[in-house]
């Protein structure tokens, strides 16, 4: 008999209180973070709290969205070190549940859920970002398997990934969307090279991944051959695992409360212009919080968010850009130069340099607006000059190689 939601919530809460740390600013090395994450995820799995909505036969708990929401609400008070697993849990895993063969599910789902194997997603390429369907990495038949060649970019977590869901071109004779296949690739296979990709924050959370004659076994097709686009759309459509929620962390230097604290610290909070700017930051942040809450409530009444979720992403990026302006006003010289060891200033700098990424990663602001315009408002689409053209004849990305 299915555990009722409130009992599940109580169970989840007491486990979290016993196991998880309250929200903390950690300063562990990447290796230590990874160990901590693995230990946590294993414990979560062993406690029967991982894969809450996944079918039980896939290693999940077979419970409902309401159970998941209850868990997420309780988890919001804690610092769950699960970021290495977000792509596996939120994207690759659910797609394996949807489209994987029983052999694939049996092999991959339990280690994924338990944090024993880490997954990454390999779609974007230097020549295929917003237009990811025009990607050029290709897989050609080799014996009963495939040989993969090409390059991926922006791959989160590839530096410690065990497996990846990779999109490659398997038929260049048909229009771009129709000649793609999704494969499961072993990130430690011969021919796979991972190179860190440093971004303007100075950190390297992403990677370039090069495939040079990487052998892919026959049973590694996820979904069907040349049906990769359908699999990709399914994967992108899965809700981002929202453990911890999209709540603005107060430790975020661009959050309203942080901006006020910074203003006070520099004795700028009495200036009427600064006060007005701070109120502006509050209005933007609060309105987004309320929209987020409302959409969640609508989802709970059965009204799926769907493409409207793009509003959240768009507004978050726009808000961050405005918050950078306000941060500069209240932080003064600290925003541009600070003494070594000043962690607050370093954190502020990180969020100033990180803000542009919010407007690009996961679909640029313009792409989000296109999605909202076309799918939510029903506006006519822009004419597509490449939709029905065989890929071989297209002008794509940065190369013309066929």
């Amino acid at each position: 008999m299915t555990e009722i939601v409130e009992e599940f919530r109580v169970r989840a809460r007491s486990w979290l209180e016993a196991t998880a740390a309250p929200r903390a600013t950690g300063s562990l090395s990447p290796a230590e973070e990874l160990d901590r994450a693995r230990a946590f995820q294993a414990a979560l799995f062993d406690a029967g709290l991982a894969g809450i909505t996944w079918p039980a036969e896939c290693g999940g708990q077979g419970l409902t969205q309401a159970h998941l929401l209850a868990f997420n609400e309780e988890a919001g008070d804690f610092d769950l070190p699960i970021s290495p697993f977000l792509i596996g849990l939120g994207m690759c895993g659910p797609t394996l549940v949807d489209l994987g063969t029983s052999a694939q599910q049996a092999r991959y789902l339990r280690p994924l859920l338990r944090g024993e194997e880490i997954w990454c997603q390999l779609f974007s390429e230097p020549g295929a970002g917003s237009d990811v369907a025009s990607l050029q990495s290709k897989a050609v038949p080799d014996g009963d398997g495939w040989l993969l060649n090409g390059q991926k970019v922006w791959t989160t977590g590839a530096q410690y990934g065990d497996f990846g869901a990779v999109l490659a071109r398997t038929d260049p004779e048909v229009p771009k969307h129709r000649g793609l296949t999704m494969f499961i690739v072993d990130m430690r296979a011969p021919g796979v090279t991972v190179r860190p990709l440093r971004v303007m924050t100075g950190a390297a959370p992403f990677n370039e991944v090069f495939f040079a004659d990487v052998r892919i076994p026959a049973d590694a097709v996820l979904g069907s051959v040349n049906e990769g686009w359908t699999a990709a759309v399914a994967m992108l459509g899965h809700e981002r695992v929202s453990i911890g929620g999209a709540v603005q962390q107060s430790s975020n230097p661009l959050a309203f409360s942080s901006l006020v604290e910074t203003a006070r610290r520099h004795e700028r909070n009495e200036d009427p212009v600064i006060r007005d700017e701070l109120v502006g930051a509050y209005l933007r942040e609060r309105a987004l919080q309320l929209l987020n809450a409302r959409l969640k409530q609508e989802a709970n009444t059965g009204k799926a968010i769907g493409a409207r979720g793009s509003v959240l992403k768009l507004v978050r990026a726009l808000n961050a850009a405005r918050a950078v302006d306000v941060a500069g006003m209240v932080a003064g010289s600290e925003a541009i130069a600070w003494t070594e060891g000043d962690t607050a200033a370093a954190a502020l700098s990180m969020s100033i340099t990180g803000a542009p990424g919010l407007a690009i990663a996961g679909g640029t602001n313009e792409v989000q607006r296109n999605i909202l315009g076309d799918r939510v408002l029903g506006l006519p689409k822009e004419p597509q000059v490449d939709r029905d053209v065989p890929f071989r004849e297209l002008r794509v990305g940065t190369q013309r190689e066929i």
Binding site: A287, L290, V311, L377
Partner: protein, 369 residues
């Protein structure tokens, strides 16, 4: 905190929308705008008597339905969408909230039941030299036998020229108070003003030893604040409704207008403009729902929520209305087309009771920055 409507509330919205679409189409609004008539009294009576839309926050003891501010904000939103001129903001919001915030039982018994059947138009007069309700009050009241007399001037009084009763905020020797003035009182001069928004009649009222009855109140200044906050919640809802409709006008046009061989909605510049309005709509709806919920459930959080609602919605509505005109091109600029009506309603609403700048300064104080 509930930000979604339940089935009953959704039904209320559908009912009001249908009613207004049927009984108050744009042609009726135009009649008022073009000066051919005042507000539709029959419509108002039906809204009150048949649909109970004016008594939503009035307790059942006074003939109301004792529903709440969420319900009232739904009605306000639909009225804002339809732009139909009615004395809703003056009579069903300002006057009702004033009577409930003050402690005068006689006034409540006299006026609240009449509001529920649409038999009285009332309003509240606070603004003087500027739209703000937090500015200086110079209108004075002094005792004169068994009544009081008022001297001074009130500006921007909503429906001030047609109101049967006006509740006037004035200063006495012992502090501020609210005074009930009959529309036909001696010494009262009512000047209907020329307005930017023809759907919202505003008047200047001049008092020269005008007889008035002082309304009982423990704290008139606190009552004024509460009335202002509740008005902010209702007005923000009305603005959000208008914002949504203005956005729809632009989206609908983008789906039919062809230039350079294709529908203009297929150009990113136009598409993204429509989306920016949609984003405003979603944010404002969320804020308005929150403010209305707070009005019903969290009395001490109301001032902050009210300021939040006005500060977010006011500039958003005007922005969307202006953008709607722009996205239409030339036709959006014509008198014949409806877009300018939303533009004017948006600008007026933005400034009534106090402009966003003041709302923001208030909020800065309330947030403890």
């Amino acid at each position: 905190m509930r930000l979604v409507l339940d089935q009953e509330q959704e039904d209320l919205r559908a009912l009001v929308r249908e009613f207004l679409a049927d009984q108050a189409p744009m042609t009726k609004v135009r009649e008022v705008v073009d000066g051919k008539s005042g507000y539709d009294r029959e419509l108002w009576r039906r809204m009150a008597r048949d649909l109970g839309l004016t008594g939503l926050v009035i307790p059942e003891a006074y003939g109301g339905s004792g529903a709440g501010h969420v319900e009232r904000s739904i009605v306000a939103e639909e009225l804002g969408r339809a732009l139909v001129p009615t004395p809703f903001l003056s009579s069903a919001v300002l006057m009702v909230d004033a009577l409930l915030a003050l402690d005068d039982v006689q006034a409540r018994e006299e006026l609240l039941p009449a509001v529920t059947v649409g038999d009285v138009v009332g309003t509240v007069a606070v603004s003087e030299s500027c739209p703000s309700w937090h500015g200086e009050t110079t209108t004075s009241a002094r005792p004169d036998g068994d009544r009081w007399v008022l001297n001074g001037e009130k500006n921007l009084v909503i429906d001030g020229d047609i109101a049967d009763v006006v509740l006037v905020y004035a200063i006495t020797a012992l502090g501020p108070g609210f005074f009930l003035v009959r529309g036909d009182a001696d010494g009262l001069t009512r000047d209907p003003l020329v307005t930017l928004d023809a759907t919202r009649p505003l008047a200047r009222l001049s008092f020269s030893d005008t007889p008035a009855r002082k309304l009982d109140s423990r704290d008139a200044a606190a009552a004024k604040s509460r009335i202002a906050d509740l008005a902010a919640v209702a007005l923000a809802a009305e603005q959000a409704g208008g914002l949504g409709r203005a956005m729809e006008l632009a989206v609908d046009y983008a789906k039919v207008r062809v230039q350079f061989g294709r529908l203009i909605g297929s150009y990113q510049a136009v598409k993204h403009g429509c989306v920016d309005s949609y984003v405003d709509c979603e944010l404002c709806t969320s804020v308005v729902r929150y403010a209305a919920w707070v009005a019903d459930h969290r009395v001490d959080e109301l001032p902050e929520a009210a300021s939040l609602a006005r500060a977010v919605v006011s500039p958003a509505y005007f922005g969307v209305a202006a953008r709607t005109i722009l996205l239409h091109g030339g036709i959006g600029y014509t008198w014949e087309y409806d877009a300018h009506l939303y533009y004017k309603r948006a600008k007026t609403s933005e400034l009534l009771f106090g402009d966003p700048h003041e709302q923001r300064a208030l909020l800065a104080d309330r947030l403890g920055i």
